[in-house]
């Protein structure tokens, strides 16, 4: 197994399209470079979606395994990140639903990275408090609403990208966002959308 630091002999600046095409031809170096380019980003997103390091790692691991295996299904190679994000979201949704089921039978999943523990060092006590409330509110939302709202207003993804990542229409995504916003805004002080 090749260590991460020396895993690719390809130049760092190769465009994503090229890397995807090379990966499709079985080039493991291209796969490595794609991983190195996109893994940190999707791992951060997964951590903010799931609030657990272990869950985030598992989801990203599954996403890359699935992504590399189904790379031929990617119609626009330049959209690799968006496509990968949709797989991450799909895996996260499954995981959150399973966690919710476990919650019903009294087995709470370990959330070792709630939002208020991820706050920047300079964040005020009030901001941390608001983040804690936001975290609790998000946990109460239906999984699809929670994922859509987190992608849109925690991650700052564009509405189109949220819909694509969720695999839903724009109208459905807006409905999810509005429903979540209604409940969150009643308890958390947020800048206007």
């Amino acid at each position: 197994m090749r260590p991460l630091a020396t895993m690719s002999r390809l130049p760092e600046g190769l465009p994503t399209e090229t890397l995807v095409r090379r990966a499709l031809r079985g080039d493991r170096d291209a796969e490595s470079l794609l991983y190195r380019r996109y893994a940190p980003g999707v791992l951060s997103t997964a951590l903010r979606l799931l609030r657990s390091h272990t869950s985030a790692e598992d989801v990203v691991q599954d996403a890359f395994v699935i992504g590399f295996a189904r790379l031929a299904q990617l119609k626009a190679p330049g959209q690799f990140r968006a496509w990968l994000l949709s797989i991450v979201v799909s895996q996260a949704r499954k995981r959150l639903r399973r966690e919710r089921l476990l919650q019903w039978v009294g087995l709470d999943a370990v959330a070792d990275a709630p939002l208020h523990l991820q706050a920047v060092g300079s964040a005020s006590v009030e901001a941390r408090g608001e983040l804690a409330v936001l975290d609790a509110m998000l946990r109460q939302l239906p999984v699809a609403h929670r994922l859509a709202w987190t992608l849109r207003y925690v991650e700052g993804e564009k509405l189109d990208d949220v819909a694509a990542a969720m695999g839903k229409s724009l109208a459905t995504t807006k409905r999810y966002l509005n429903a979540a916003e209604e409940r969150i805004a009643a308890h958390v002080a947020l800048e206007p959308a």
Partner: protein
């Protein structure tokens, strides 16, 4: 108090994920090396459909008429299989013989009480009733030591006590008793292994 910004990410620190990235990469590589399973969902579906077709067309086979035994005889044979109430002391139960029908000349058939108890153990284990499993195995170990399957029962009992109930001292005692019953050569290594895993000599309590 200033409200949280949108995106909220602006007040969140970028997590240090270098170790995670490396760890996940190692796992991804490992999983990419493992070939895809030969059994695909389509094959499973095909198998299920074939089985359903078989069941519909061929099953059930023609029924055979089996003469039923008198209810009293069955009840008498099944009586020793019932679990003792936890509060009652275990009493040795003799092997039960089926009543000889009037006019019959053959010798009475002895009921296989230990076999029946072991079947009850399987049922209880399948339903997850560990306490029943332990009670029945204890019954065999206490009152049927003349049966060669008592050693097997003690081995199962020790394993349950060690691995499920986390009672190494009781497990050690069970393995020790099984060893004392002069088991067959192929069981000795497993029993000894269990006995040592349970703490062995000096870690035995019967209750």
């Amino acid at each position: 108090m200033s409200p949280l910004p949108r995106p909220v990410k602006d007040v969140l620190a970028e997590p240090a994920l270098d170790a995670s990235v490396k760890r996940v990469w190692a796992k991804v590589q490992l999983r990419r090396r493992v070939p895809a399973p030969l059994v695909r969902p389509s094959l499973i579906l095909g198998g299920v459909l074939a089985l359903a077709a078989f069941v519909v067309t061929v099953w059930p086979p023609p029924k055979r008429v089996v003469p039923m035994a008198p209810v009293e005889a069955v009840a008498e044979v099944c009586a020793p299989i019932r679990l003792p109430h936890p509060s009652t002391p275990h009493a040795r139960r003799p092997t039960v013989a089926l009543p000889r029908p009037a006019g019959a000349t053959a010798a009475p058939v002895e009921a296989d009480v230990v076999g029946a108890l072991l079947m009850s153990v399987e049922d209880a284990a399948r339903e997850g009733h560990t306490d029943q499993v332990v009670a029945i195995l204890g019954e065999i170990a206490a009152h049927h030591t003349d049966d060669p399957r008592a050693v097997e029962a003690l081995y199962m009992l020790g394993t349950v006590q060690l691995e499920v109930l986390k009672q190494p001292s009781r497990a050690a005692a069970s393995f020790r008793r099984a060893l004392e019953l002069s088991p067959s050569d192929d069981l000795v290594p497993r029993l000894w292994e269990g006995y040592e895993a349970a703490g062995g000599y000096g870690n035995e309590t019967t209750r």
